[in-house]
Amino acid sequence: MRRFAVLLVLAAVALAVLLGAPFVGPTEISLESVLQGPRAGGAARIFWTIRVPRVAVAFLAGMGLAVSGMAFQAMFRNPLATPFTLGVASGASLGAAAYLYASAALAVAWPAGLPVAAFCGALAAVGLVYGLTRLRKGFATDTLLLAGVAVAFFFSSLIVCLQYLSDPFDSFRILRWLMGGLSDTVGYRGVWTLGPLALLGSALIGSFTRELNLLTTGEDLAASRGVAVGRVKHLLFFGASLTVGGVVSVCGPIGFVGLMSPHICRLLTGPDHRTLTPATLLFGGAFLVVCDTLARAAFPLYSRLTAGALDYTEVPVGVITALLGGPFFLYLLLRGGRRAT
């Protein structure tokens, strides 16, 4: 069974990545110092309060984005669908931009404000898209896609407006947030925020593997086979929104993982969502951890030069995901892919 072999390899790779990634970074960390526990200070402290939560958030985010992208691609029968297709990312970005603008203008700062504002923005976008679709009765896929695109454009112009109104420093903070990244992850708050949302959303999507298979053959056919298409789509939509809302509120919009991971896994395991879903979860998680580790490790000198000043000297992880994933995906495409299972 080739599919199970692929799953096994992916699981082993994901485990290796999870165990290895926290040891990579500007500061050398030895196994002995880590075993002293987080209270030991020094390297152990960096390991337990910065590296481990960051790797955990990266894995959860990559996993959630990938599986949401997979669900949208199946649901819309559109290979270009991403977790951000329905405007979730632009909603979150608008929330974050509004918070950054307002906190600068009012000179108040609330540490949890940014993720909360981003999450509210994501929910607002989802609610708006969903509401627009409801207005037209039914839950037509094309309407949903178009409404998502329209809302995304609308929110993007609002963000540009806010940037224009902000002073250059705040404008740059907004821009930097829009690039997405994990460099702000310190401590476990991100893990506790994202963990439940990503796990719940992914589990919800993962409970519909047969339905996802049938949806890829067409909605009419799925319905005629006994799938309650409307209800399943609502729940998939809900699961993906929870997940993606959680991800963007903690890490900002990280592109590419959600678009490419499902395609890469489809080339590896075939189109059956019963194996594709676990493969996508593992691949997406491991892939983002690797990319974030590169973002952290590839420029240690540069960030050391500015250490203590500004924290955006790391390359945004979205840049790495695209730089790494793009060529790999092209390679898989050009190789012709081992279709079928």
Partner: protein, 262 residues
């Protein structure tokens, strides 16, 4: 005896446009009904109404004595299956995997495939003569092969009523004849009732028990094949003259193309 399918005064509008108007007919258990009619006469919408895929405004549809609206999707799928019009892009599933997906209404969410599901798939592949390419993926099949696979999947569903939307329209004569043979086999030997939307008047006249014809969303004809071929009937359905000839094998009337006037 209660008919398997009973349609009374079915009226359906889509986007404010009337598509079907007071359509009434019945399908008995094991009956082969062909549905004819010009393009845009509402044939596809009729099938979609019968599968509960579009809501209808008035009238009632009863399946095995129960109102269509009283069925849950799964229960409906165990009774009636549907082969939509040929679709452009096929997903990358293997034929076997795709036909197995027809067992969906019989599977509970947490069980895996049982031996009876595998048996149903094997039977369906055999009945449609598609077991030869069970391991190939759908996009690698020709149109005719793919159509047979869609029928196999509908068959694996285990339904007593099979609704087909123009299964032979895009097929060459050989493959169209194959599909015709498969449908006749299912109907005669497996007792599956068939509602087959088609433009093939001759095949409808030769191989169905009854024929329903729609024109402008209304029933233009409902009766046996002999009545269909009576003078003036086809003309009233399609609004064009037809030439008739006797079938060389059995002498029954068939339509033949006119020679183009110089």
């Amino acid at each position: 005896m209660t008919p398997l399918l009973e349609v009374r005064d079915l009226t359906c509008r889509l986007g404010g446009k009337p598509i079907l108007h007071e359509v009434s007919f019945e399908v008995q258990e094991g009956e082969f009904l062909s549905v004819l009619g010009p393009n845009g006469s509402g044939k596809t919408t009729l099938l979609r109404c019968l599968m509960g895929l579009v809501p209808f405004d008035r009238g009632r549809v009863r399946l095995a004595g129960r109102a269509l609206s009283a069925y849950r999707r799964r229960a409906l799928a165990r009774l009636a299956s549907y082969v939509p019009q040929a679709m452009g892009d096929a997903p990358e599933f293997t034929v076997h995997a795709f036909v197995l997906m027809g067992r969906y209404p019989h599977l509970s969410p947490f069980t895996s495939t049982r031996s009876e599901d595998e048996a149903a798939v094997r039977d369906a592949l055999q009945a449609t003569d598609t077991q030869r390419f069970a391991d190939r993926t759908l996009p690698t099949l020709s149109g005719g092969e793919r159509q047979a696979v869609y029928i196999a999947a509908a068959l694996a569903q285990g339904a007593r009523l099979l609704l087909l939307d123009e299964p032979t329209t895009f097929l060459d004569p050989l493959h169209a004849a194959n599909i015709g043979r498969v449908l006749a086999h299912l109907n005669r030997d497996k007792g599956v009732a068939v509602v087959n939307v088609t433009h093939d008047i001759n095949r409808a006249a030769l191989s169905s028990h009854r024929v329903l014809a729609l024109r402008g969303g209304r029933v233009a004809f409902h009766g046996g094949p002999a009545e269909l071929m009576a003078a003036g009937v086809l003309e009233s359905i399609y609004g064009k003259p037809f030439l008739y000839a006797a079938h060389p094998q059995n002498g029954r009337p068939v339509v033949v193309p006119e020679e183009a006037q110089p």
